[in-house]
């Protein structure tokens, strides 16, 4: 029987790889078709992210918020509730962190305390964002996915309202907040790139979440509730509160992601649209198969794809949105059980037949 398990494991890995390759192939064909200079564009897309220190730096910089939202979606996906408020949580976290930074800018509060305060506020904002759909779902049985998608719009308009009416710098040429101040700027990690301390914070979070998932009682409860809620109830795990709590904890990471991104990358807050990090996070969690340890790896992959796309965008005007097509294809292929399942079935069938024969031979 262990054969079956082994076949399944190998198969899963191969399947994800094939899905990614397939999606890439489709993207390349599209790029080749629409571009005047296909070879250049394709090489820019594939090799571009690695062709200079700055570009590699860009991958890691982009990885930072994606790791945070990927962790958030691991919680959400682990308990099988598609709470997508992590997307809006990034905006809210970033916006409120910016408010705190601006409020503390001209005070005597030391920089590191200000940064910690900003990140905590971001985390709280994220928790609030994901708590609303989670509670609506558990208490009122309203669909968590729809509520969270609606909430994303509300969070977006709420943060733009704050941007335009509370923290807007009238002196700036575009819609942007006051300067956040130098003291909250997250320190650069590697000169010549934009990689900042946020990367370390993100990786620390990965370690923390991995421990929470696999070494602490809460992680166990969460996994059990996610796979089989009726078992969890029977064995005495509080199902409802576990479901809500894990979404709330997940939201904290999305909110932190927003605040870290703002503090690390921008001198002013100026998000007027959803960032897409939350949705990317879902995909990262799907690719990582809910395993937080694999989140940095899949976040790196997405960051690589996105970096390639924005390189293509700056050189050729092709909008980076084409990446979302790749992402859609990957998610669908990875989620589709039947994708390559004929192959898997044949493998397992022949293994079962073989062991049957062995048994008969013995008897």
């Amino acid at each position: 029987m262990n054969k079956t398990k082994r076949i399944e494991n190998t198969f899963d890995v191969v399947r994800i790889l094939i899905a990614i390759l397939l999606a890439y192939l489709i993207a390349l064909i599209i790029l080749a078709l629409i571009s005047d200079d296909p070879w250049n564009v394709i090489s820019l897309f594939i090799i571009g992210p690695f062709n200079s220190k700055k570009h590699v730096g860009d991958i890691f910089t982009l990885m930072i918020p994606l790791v945070f939202t990927g962790l958030c979606m691991c919680f959400v996906y682990a308990i099988n509730k598609f709470n997508l408020a992590g997307e809006g949580a990034v905006n809210l976290g970033g916006c409120l962190a910016a408010c705190v930074a601006i409020a503390l800018r001209d005070t005597a509060v030391p920089g590191w305390i200000a940064i910690i305060l900003c990140i905590i506020v971001g985390a709280l904002a994220g928790m609030l964002s994901t708590a609303i759909p989670a509670i609506a779902d558990q208490v009122f049985h309203a669909d968590v996915c729809v509520i969270s998608l609606m909430l994303n719009y509300i969070l977006l308009y709420f943060t733009t309202y704050i941007l335009k009416n509370v923290i807007k710098d009238q002196g700036a040429s575009v819609t942007a907040s006051y300067k956040l101040g130098r003291k909250v700027k997250l320190a650069n990690l590697i000169p010549g790139t934009q990689i900042h301390i946020g990367l370390l914070i993100a990786l620390a979070c990965v370690v923390f979440v991995a421990i929470l998932f696999y070494k602490m009682p809460f992680g166990y409860k969460m996994r059990a509730v996610g796979v089989n809620p009726s078992f969890a109830r029977y064995i005495g795990i509080p199902v409802g509160s576990t479901i809500i709590l894990s979404q709330v904890i997940g939201g904290a990471f999305a909110g932190m992601g927003g605040s870290v991104q703002i503090l690390g990358m921008f001198p002013r807050y100026k998000w007027e649209s959803l960032t897409g990090y939350g949705f990317d996070g879902l995909m990262i969690a799907v690719l990582a198969r809910k395993n937080p340890v694999l989140v940095p790896l899949s976040a790196f992959l997405i960051a690589y794809i996105r970096t390639g796309a924005s390189l293509v965008a700056t050189k050729t005007q092709i909008p980076p949105e084409f990446v979302s097509i790749i992402q859609g294809i990957i998610i669908v292929l990875v989620a589709a059980e039947m994708f390559l399942s004929g192959w898997k079935k044949r493998l397992i069938f022949s293994a079962a037949k073989k062991s049957l024969k062995e048994k008969e031979a013995k008897a």
Binding site: A224, V227, R233, Y234
Partner: protein, 514 residues
């Protein structure tokens, strides 16, 4: 004339489970053919193959002498094969006529002609004397009538071969009798019936021939006239053993579980537990016998805290469980082997260790500070795997890859070692292989005697209730209808009469036995 033949059918499920192995059998025209076997012998799978719901890896099917390939129920219907499933395949909100004509609706002006539907259904019902009202809504019919709608559905589609999957399991004796009359009528009109059953007396009464399945293999076909019940059951089960468990007399101590006037309404508003009272003491097993579906599962859910009850009370070690969380009830001495081991009793996609530790991973002795103590978990799991002889690769193997018996061992291992002084065992050996069942029963008795714990055994398996229990109650229609002080002194015949409602004890007779 041969109506149907299945030859050398082999079906292996994607998880590697071999459900049918080289099965061959045939049905004549105008014959009622029984297909019998234990739970999990492969009867239902075989019929699913015949009805096109599963594709076999090997084998051929002949209808009317011609080889055919049946790839879907539609195919099967077109070839004149109809099936009445164990779980009815009806659309509750639609009428009888709409259900019977579903998929073959007559049309007028491009829309469904409701009048023609009703007319067609009514005619068919009258022809075979089914006595159905074609305009009634299905959700309001009795179970027996629903089954008739199912048969009518197959006939309306021109079925010549009718498969009935355990049709009498849900019927009253009256309804069963009626069904048999109708089946004999169908036989006379040239239809063939494949009758899947567990009930030997019904097979003997109704059928002409019988094919026996055992563990996925075919164990021969015989004319009924050559068999008696005894021989037939030996062919099915293959062993002729009466379970005997040696146990010392109980020394009942103080009460552990007290159930007082327990009342429960189902979601549909039916009274499913009607003023049930009993007490279980330390060191004894109380058995509850009864035909399945008489309130046993509600009783088990109420006592274990899975469902709230509507009246009366349940006291565990002197404290009411009402309004308490399941974790709290478990902590105060409850352990529970649930009836449905796959969806309630375990997490099939987690490892043996995760399943064994599920109720104790966060106990202080299994923690290192705020972290789980991996070493302790490993040690405990390995010890239990050894003690319960769970055959597996190692502790990290996922539950779904184990056999049914080994899965149940995991559940039993966890529940018996949780440190509780009350074990609620609901159908603990159903669908489990002989060896494991015996082991579980003996273990239950030993634990109760040695550790002076109390146990409630709910089982539809008479052999089990009679041998394992000390005292015995019989439940029927949500009520306790009989009580015996010594289970081993009760005969099957007597018990059967109480279970079927032929006899009932008065409260005075049961006085002092509850």
């Amino acid at each position: 004339m041969e109506a149907l033949k299945m030859e050398n059918i082999t079906k292996i499920y994607p998880n590697g489970f071999v459900a049918n192995k080289g099965i061959t059998f045939s049905v004549q025209e105008g014959e009622i053919h029984a297909l019998v076997g234990e739970n999990g012998a492969g009867k239902t799978t075989l019929m699913k193959v015949l009805f096109g719901m599963e594709q076999p890896q090997e084998g051929r099917i002949y209808v009317g002498g011609k080889q055919v390939k049946i790839t879907s129920p539609l195919d099967a219907i077109a070839k004149g094969v109809g099936m009445v499933h164990q779980h009815f395949m009806l659309v509750p909100s639609m009428t009888v006529a709409q259900n019977v004509t579903l998929g073959i609706e007559p049309r007028k002006h491009g829309l469904v002609d409701n009048e023609a539907c009703v007319k067609m259904t009514q005619q068919l019902s009258d022809k075979y004397q089914f006595g159905l009202d074609a305009t009634a809504t299905v959700s309001e019919l009795s179970v027996g009538l629903m089954q008739k709608v199912e048969i009518l559905k197959a006939l309306a589609r021109g079925a010549k071969v009718l498969i009935l999957d355990e049709p009498t399991a849900v019927l009253t004796p009256q309804e069963t009798k009626e069904l048999f009359e109708q089946l004999k009528l169908l036989k006379k009109s040239g239809h063939s019936v494949i009758f899947i059953s567990h009930k030997l007396e019904e097979v003997m009464e109704l059928c002409d021939n019988v094919t026996i399945l055992r563990h996925g293999y075919c164990n021969g076909s015989y004319p009924i006239s050559e068999l008696d019940e005894r021989k037939l059951s030996r062919l099915m089960v293959g062993r002729d053993v009466i379970l005997k468990i040696e146990k010392p007399d109980p020394k009942p101590g103080k009460p552990v579980l007290e159930v007082k006037n327990l009342e429960k309404l189902s979601d549909e508003g039916k009274v499913v537990l009607d003023h049930i009272s009993f007490t279980i003491r330390e060191g004894e097993v109380l058995g509850i016998a009864g035909v399945e579906g008489n309130g046993q599962n509600y009783l088990s859910d109420c006592i274990s805290g899975m469902q709230k009850y509507d009246g009366g009370d349940v006291l565990l070690n002197g404290k009411s469980i009402s309004g308490r969380k399941i974790s709290d009830i478990r902590r105060s001495g409850m352990s529970h082997i649930p009836e449905d081991r796959m969806t309630v009793g375990c997490v099939s996609t987690m490892s043996i260790m995760d399943n064994v530790m599920a109720d104790r991973f966060d106990r202080p002795e299994n923690m290192k500070g705020i972290f789980l103590d991996q070493q302790k978990a490993i040690a405990q799991t390995d010890a239990l795997i050894k003690e319960f002889e769970i055959s597996c690769d190692d502790r990290s193997e996922e539950i779904r890859l184990l056999s049914g018996g080994n899965i149940q061992k995991v559940v039993v291992a966890r529940e018996f070692t949780s440190g509780a002084n009350f074990v609620l065992a609901n159908q603990p050996t159903r669908g489990v292989d002989v060896g494991t069942a015996e082991m579980i029963r003996k273990y239950l008795v030993r634990q109760v005697r040695e550790k002076q714990i109390a146990s409630l055994l709910i089982s539809a398996d008479l052999n089990e209730v009679l041998e394992v229990s000390d005292r015995l109650l019989v439940i029927r229609q949500g009520k306790i209808v009989a009580a015996f002080s010594k289970a081993s002194m009760v005969s099957e015949d007597e018990l059967g009469e109480y279970m079927l409602g032929i006899k009932t004890m008065t409260p005075d007779e049961m006085e002092g036995l509850l």
